[in-house]
Amino acid sequence: MRSLRTITLTVCAGVLALTLGACGSSSSSKSANSGIGVSQGIQTPATQALSGGKRGGTLNVLNHEDFEHIDPGSSYFSIDYEAVYATQRPLYSYKPNTFAAPSPDLAEGPPQISADGKTVTVHIRHGVHFSPPVNREVTSADVAYALDRGMNPNVANVYFEGYFASIEGVKGAKGGPIPGIRTPDKYTIVFHLTEPQGQLVADALVLPVSAPVPQEYAKKYDAKKPSEYGNYQVATGPYMFKANAEGKVLGVGYQPGKSATLVRNPNWNPSTDFRPAYLDQINIAIGGDTTVIGRQVLEGSHTVQNDPVAQAIVKLAYEKYRSQLEISPGAGDHYVAINNSKGPFTNVNLRKAYWAALDREAMDKARGGSLVTNVMTHFLYPEIPGFEQAGGLAGPKVDYNEHPQGDMAVAEKYMKLAGYPSGKYTGSKTLQVVGSTGNPAPENAQIADQALKNLGFKTKLNLVDQSVMYSKYCGVVSEAIDVCPNVGWVADFGDPEAVLNVPFNGKLIITNGTNSNWGLVNHPKINAAMEAATKIIGTSARAAAWAKIDDELVAEAVAVPYDWDKQANIEAKDVAGVGDLWDIGEWDYSFTSLK
């Protein structure tokens, strides 16, 4: 999964070793008519104008956080993506207002998937050139090399194997040519698969690892451990990191922990691209307190903030600077993972009782209220294909899902069905509850903990750093943590498999590494349905299949969902910001302009 910039959202460290799916940041897209509420008068990526901006000027970006990786082969972070998608052109990418329909970017048209799902063919555009010092035209061999890098340990891509494992020769590849990726001519690339997973491979070509890399230039940097290509990268997008004549970016256009500068790519040809690229330059300042940054942006000029905006600033912006606030729906989800494989919650009725007892409205209020959250009622995202079939916003009509503020009467009913006639848990087990630190996760953890206590459980609540929570406890099978109230998921692309497969497929539980099926959900019927669904080709058929799986997940109450995130972002009054629906609303430098 893509690591999230936010202090709250998901980290899915286990994707590396997974077969399919993935988590990531970002959002399901949510258009204005799909019912995910964004208050009147507040802009959303779905409604922003993508054209008509004023050309020229310099945008100042104030970021508390630094990039993780600026190399397109390893970037997997929403803040990285802002720069990477402005400077690189993957085969496909999303326009700012959608997460459902990728547009051909470096590719000339949609991917062609063979009837048996084992071959994917992509033709790339003519006339796309690398930035200096490479300068030459991009060919399919550059895309093939970029994808080869996905298995190069020096590049350390965390998702490549998860999505592209079905390509012939990926297993065991170390950065050299992958046999299943062939380039019959300069403008064609063909993927030969061992499994009928053409749809998944095609979907994953929106990820930045498919952005071309010139082998003759990058090879010497890729030979270093870790690869230094990011520090000497060349661009294909409208912008490039400022670099010296040799192409060196580090210390020129990127000072880690301090600043970054994007300038126009002189070799970019607008006729080959759908991006308008209004701005002349983007200056990114790194560091500082988010609350201070928030005030600087709201009261400043030609400035945006790309970090998670502090809760107090969101409130201030809503009350006093509403036109400068953007809310991006579908920016991930949060749920309470409950151990389906060990301990009391192996009993489905106990899981349903907990679902019924949890005050999900209070959980969402602690995250900032309805402005930035929606009560999550099932597991597929809004706008992800299958969402509506799976129940839409209201979710499946089951009694434990009907009262988001919690319903102790229903909870008591399921406690009795679980074998506790008093309606309270009377077993001896003390539940191990592990949450994460950093506002508002502790508040969510305490509400979830209190709901357990209301059901009669004895609990031990521990809060640890978010990365520790995933890597040491909730993501480690042998720890057998009973309840993880702060986990979440963000899809890498708009396909239901990317939302459901990894966190809920029992066959993908990793026992000797970091596992992302935090609730150890392992129900044979669901596993089998997922395995079948991964092989389906075609959006509507996949949507139907995964929606049914979503129903099963709710019927088994495999976890307690509570929050579909809506991300707040802010801009100065003289900025016509355009956020990316597919990147939790982060400002898109290629579409944003100055007023």
Binding site: Q450, V464, Y473, I481
Partner: protein
Amino acid sequence: MSVGAAEVVPGAGGGLGFLDAGAEIAARSPLQLFWRRFRQDRVAMVSLGFIVFLIVLAIAAPLVVEALGLPSPYTQNPNLTDSFGSPLGPSAAHPFGVDQLGEDVMSRVIYGTRVSLEVGIIGTGIATIIGVVIGVLAGFYRGWVDTLLSRLIDVVLSIPILLLGLGIGAACAVRGCVKGAIQPGLGEILFLIAFANWCYVARIVRGLVLSLREREFVEASRALGASNTRIMFREILPNLVAPIIVYSSLLIPLNILLEASLSFLGVGIRPPTASWGQMIAAATPIFNTAWWYMTFPGIALLLTVLAFNLLGDGLQDALNPRTVR
């Protein structure tokens, strides 16, 4: 502390009446002398009164909360936050306002007293006992015992306590450490305080014992056939009571602050247990919109630490009147 001192009680008329013939001269015990000096220090007396109040408050916290008509510190009420999840401020029903979970801040401040005093008093007590024993052994036996223990003290003193706390907090976060002997939360804090502070006490005690062991009363005991254990703990130790009390009283506020710091950093007391440091930490991101959430536990922490510090100064003056300050 002056041992065996005597003072002359002024006559009824005050002044220099005691010089008159027939004036009554009364000997006073060290305790009486201490109390006489201590009670003249008004600041220290007020501090003592405040600390006694805190102790009563901590013991009777449930009764106090109930008597004040406040909800339990663990009662969550999302209706007491606004539509953005921001907590509501002070009101008649919630004099100190509420936190993000709608929990009553006053109620939590009152319960937080328990944690601070437990940590301050119990943690310091454990550290003091360990430090006294090791300091007496090192000072009394000298030689290789002294060398070994002194080097051990040096090693422990060189460990940055806050970083150690963060490390222990991370390592013992969920399952505890040392086969569960050190549990996350209060147990972890007490361990850390004991581990970090005994050496200060030990070093002071060692120095005093090195001096005392050469005194005549020790020689006399030894001549009478007293064992080393008896000399250490029945002859020398009583002479150390004053400095130990003074130093311990000054350690208490430091330990209260240490707990608050660790809780602030997220490795101390775990929610839902109320702790002032943890409350201040939780309040930090929302200080702009909920000043009360940080202010009241902050004031409680400040007053408590100040009271213990002033009490320590008062004890120092009363127990060691020859100290020039």
